[in-house]
Symmetry: T
Subunit: 72 residues, 12 copies
């Protein structure tokens, strides 16, 4: 990539869910997006949420992300 | 669905338009999205707007939604 | 288009990059989206950013847009 | 109206109140504005609030709108 | 109530759920709060969301409210 | 005023400036609006700003308000 | 309190009303909360509003606060 | 104008439309407001939007502004 | 729980503090809330903050959460 | 200063603390900044917070400000 | 720069003023910052404002930016 | 520190980058700031972002923070 050159990116909004932590939930969303989109470039966290199990432990983290990739 | 299991969702932004009211405009957007996406899960209202006719009556409601669905 | 008639739109989030200015970056994103989507209708600027070259001049403008189009 | 033609709009902020529901409160505000302004064009909902009566029922809906009209 | 007199209110955040529409979901939350709090005064809508059933119809509206009441 | 009765309000955005403090700046804006509008009802503070004199003292407070009044 | 030690706080949303000014309205809300909650720790102003009397003077200040206290 | 002196401003919300660019749309709105209001002082851009023609070119820029002027 | 069935939830705002990391601070708040509230359902992160010790290391993470639970 | 002339300003974020009130906390921050920066021009209040003493009185106001000054 | 390598950036908030347009005001701020900071990397537009002359023309554009640079 | 005593703080905006996780990126920014500023007091997370490598793994976390310290 050369700065100054006309180009375009698209951002999609994806939610990753994992019981292991926030970083794992981010990676879950990125890996899923990687399967159908080419050349992911960066992500931006929009929201961090999660589910609480009956015993009062966090049973999963749900991270809402924007993922950006270049439009070729 | 089992909580704690790794999974991913996508959100798309859609606008439904109806002259019948806010709920009808939401259903309009959801039905349209249902035609091309599988297994819609939930929606979040972003904005409620509308058009005003010449006689000063609301001629349509325009509801901007995010619609989420699981990525298989 | 007739107001009051049930219809739907989708919004996608795109970033246009140009070294010529903000309007050129907007047009860059719109032209790219036009290639794969039918009948673009309007855009909304979300963010204006840019890169600064070594000599302290703005080397490119990066404009984040939402672009809306009717779902047929 | 022709797109591309220089023109201007003004937005005013109005609150409509009705005991019948959200759409009725919107129409209440639009009808009132219609009395003193010409050629209303669209509205945007800013806030939805309401009053609760002594018996715990919603006694009125208060909807805060921006209403836009062309400046001739 | 007399304006100018020292007094205090509290706001609680409640979610009402109904399959009948947005106003019904608001009333659901207000009625529930009425059971345990005295003298509810007003509400403010924070978010409107909902669940989508398998057939692509909105199966329920979830309205997030702040409900305010005077502290005696 | 009776709750539940159809009615409408308008909000205007006004800035009051005073060297005496924030409450004085609010009263300044309200008094000015009172001169041309009938029956002001409430205000909402949007922003508090001010000017700093050469000697490093706050020389004036500028308070941006929305002021609401009933439309008869 | 020792930094680094596991502990928890709760925030409640309260509105204080006073005809004397913004600081007095804050103190009104804090004093009221102090009556039913233990060991208040800090407050955060969310909104400043007020009522305007018939003569165009501010008849009361209404300050919306979050008040935080430690959960023992 | 002397800092520290009691005075008041009003802000109005106006949209300027131009096919020439963002600055031209701002000037369009300011010129229109200048026709009916005295002594405009400053503007603040709220939103930048636009329409996209059938050929995928930006056919007009729509800039939403607040325009402020002193109340005499 | 069956979707479509009238029901209500409440959200409370809690801060969890831990020196072990963000997930530990979230669990700290959830465990504390679990002690006094029944059947916690989900959480939403509002803010992530922390304290810095004299040696320049993060001595604790402070995570502000909303925790939701069903009202029976 | 002449309008239209190329110039630049910087904004810094400062917190002033005082037990006397909001205006005193603003002046505290401005006076401190005045010691190390030249020619302060204006301030913008970002947040108003405070500490609550054991007896339930506000023991100090903490006002977060942006302070702007011209870059020469 | 290699992605994945520990590094830090700082952002400063600067306002550029120019009578030539928005891009010129951005470049004005960047050039000024370049004089005292090393290796500017990117900017983010925060606000676009301006002054209106007596004849109703925009006499200058004021663009509020964040400018980021690497901390070596 | 004694509550109630006049004092001032400054906040700076810093970005920490690390391939190890969010807490490591926060510590990276804090350690860097510690080198040039005295007596850091607290931090507030503004944004969490990151870069995605060619193989679809998160190659680094970028955390935007405000860091506060007392002005002596």
């Amino acid at each position: 990539m050369t700065y100054g050159q006309g180009r375009s990116y698209k951002k999609v909004e994806v939610i990753g869910v994992s019981n292991k932590g926030i970083e794992a939930a981010i990676q879950q969303a990125v890996s899923k997006a990687q399967g159908s989109l080419e050349k992911l470039s960066w992500f931006e966290v929009q929201d961090i949420r999660g589910h609480i199990g009956k015993d009062g432990t966090v049973s999963e983290y749900q991270v809402v992300l924007k993922i950006a990739f270049e439009l070729k």
